[in-house]
Symmetry: C2
Subunit: 328 residues, 2 copies
């Protein structure tokens, strides 16, 4: 099959071996895939990953290999699916997405010891798959994985209607997080650097602010700040915007070991919450009910065989989502 394979560098391989089905797993024909910042970091060496890149996808179930002693699969060949990226062995006691996401025996789709989705076919445990409702297009479904990560914020932190909440960063993840937080009754402000990106939120009635204006607002105004910049400067600004005893949610990974003002975390008694993968079903519901707009984030699309160019494009400053059309 065709695949974008990461070894010393990323290359398009027209003859990569197709995945072998394992008990309890499905083979999925990938139709569309999304490029994530993590893919760009993996190319730079993060996690030391080798194999087929990619973890954001929508596809059609090609075949199923039931587990010998397991329950009958509820997903059938021909169905359109998205898939959670953390895969655990059949024998693992982890029974739900929340346990699987931190299972020490997990492999992670296109990130850690498991071939990913920038290919004609991929494989995943049946328990990882979620049927995509007809109301959700392929272009939307490809956003389910990062949208689920945004939902994880409200899964972990209780946002009260009276809470003043800021999302810092207007990259792909920041825009999705702001839209998910806007589904709550909290008093939300999205803070970023790019007028064009913030406009996507403004058009949905979300209050936005340039990061250059953030200095002018009352310091320590926010009860909760969600850090989506992944930069030490963003971490520090987030801390300064937060009231004493507030909650700082970290969504982004950071390059290297950034310097962080741990003393002020103690003095201000801040709670820092690390937040990563999230629940797929709420993300699918938000899309089906048109409560978030993800297609405005699509900046470009490429066929699979031009994938190396697609990833270069995704790495340019200011670019939001780049899609790969595997089957067009």
């Amino acid at each position: 099959m065709r695949a974008l394979v990461l070894s010393d560098q990323l290359t398009f391989n027209p003859n990569y071996p197709a995945p072998t089905p394992a008990p309890g797993e499905a083979i999925i024909r990938v139709t569309r895939a999304g490029i994530c910042n993590t893919d760009l970091e993996l190319i730079k060496g993060y996690m030391g990953f080798r194999g087929v890149l990619g973890h954001e996808f929508v596809g059609v179930v090609e075949s199923i290999t039931p587990a010998p002693a397991g329950p009958l699969p509820i997903i059938r060949p021909g169905e359109r699916v998205v898939g959670e990226i953390n895969a655990v062995p059949l024998a693992s006691p982890s029974r739900d997405w929340h346990q699987r996401a931190q299972d020490p025996a997990r492999t992670t789709l296109g990130i850690d010891r498991r071939d990913g989705v920038f290919a004609d076919y991929t494989r995943l445990p049946l328990v990882n798959l979620h049927r995509v409702p007809d109301a959700v297009s392929d272009d939307e479904a490809v956003f389910v994985e990062p949208l689920a990560a945004a939902c994880q914020i409200v899964q972990q932190v209780h946002l009260k209607p009276t809470d003043r909440v800021a999302v810092l960063g207007d990259g792909k993840l920041g825009l999705l997080c702001a839209q998910v937080l806007a589904t709550t009754a909290c008093d939300l402000t999205a803070i970023g650097k790019h007028a064009a990106k913030l406009d996507i939120l403004k058009q949905r009635g979300i209050r936005t602010m340039q990061v250059s204006e953030a200095g002018s607002i009352e310091a320590r105004r926010f009860d909760v700040v969600v850090e989506c910049t992944g930069s030490p400067a963003g971490f520090d600004l987030a801390r300064q915007l937060l009231r004493p005893r507030g909650t700082l949610v970290l969504k982004s990974t950071y390059e290297g070991l950034p310097q962080a003002n741990l003393t002020m975390i103690v003095v201000d008694e801040i709670t820092v919450v690390g937040s990563r993968c999230g629940p797929f079903e709420p993300a699918l519901r938000l899309l089906a009910h048109k409560r978030v707009d993800v297609t405005s984030l699509i900046h470009a699309r490429y066929p699979l065989h031009e994938g190396v160019r697609a990833l270069e494009h995704a790495g340019r400053p200011g670019v939001l989502k780049v899609l790969l059309d595997i089957v067009s």
Copy 2:
């Protein structure tokens, strides 16, 4: 009056002006005071503090100036007291210790714009004072402030009986934190570098471990880790000992801006809780009921006029609590 005063350096001043009583405040004759690591940091320049150093004390109320419209004071002259260090203006809406500790208008005893307790007299708002029960000696009462800070951990974090909890660091604060956590039903391990210090805990039936052995224990074993070393290496070890989705409590302040692995906080979905000043009444109860042993931490005592030497002594490696006898 006599006082240890920090300006460009720390000096003993035999003729420092006595504090002027203000409405709603008491003048307290200090009998005994304790030297804290924060005092040593203030001498190095932390907070840019200038004035009388010291915030851990026990004393006797000398005089009271009631507030014009306030309730009658429940503390009377001649009573033995300890005092919370965060002082707010009479008009502040902060009504309890928890609000005062983060009130933006607060001054802090011997730390931030308020003369401290290494002197014959000090002053504090009446609401900050707590009567010391007869069962608690002066040597014990002088530990109430740091013991309250240790109590703040269990005030902020629910430690379940099934939780595996580690305290990292066997300095003064680490030893107090371990003893307070040992009052819960959690499965506790204190980890440090100094056999003699850990012995204080061992003798109270607390499991201890050398930090050099920490590598041999099952990684990611602990549900909660309390970081009391204040070093970047301690922060990193704490993170590594913690299970995914565990809670890391930061008790110490850090010199400068340490490097911190924020990425692993996200990947492991760790919650970091900054923890500082705590409630005095529980600390007094623990002392009155002999549920903690603080006097074993006393390494030396000096008269006030030898205070500069006392602080030098307190700064030597391996030294635990050094006391100042103001009135002996």
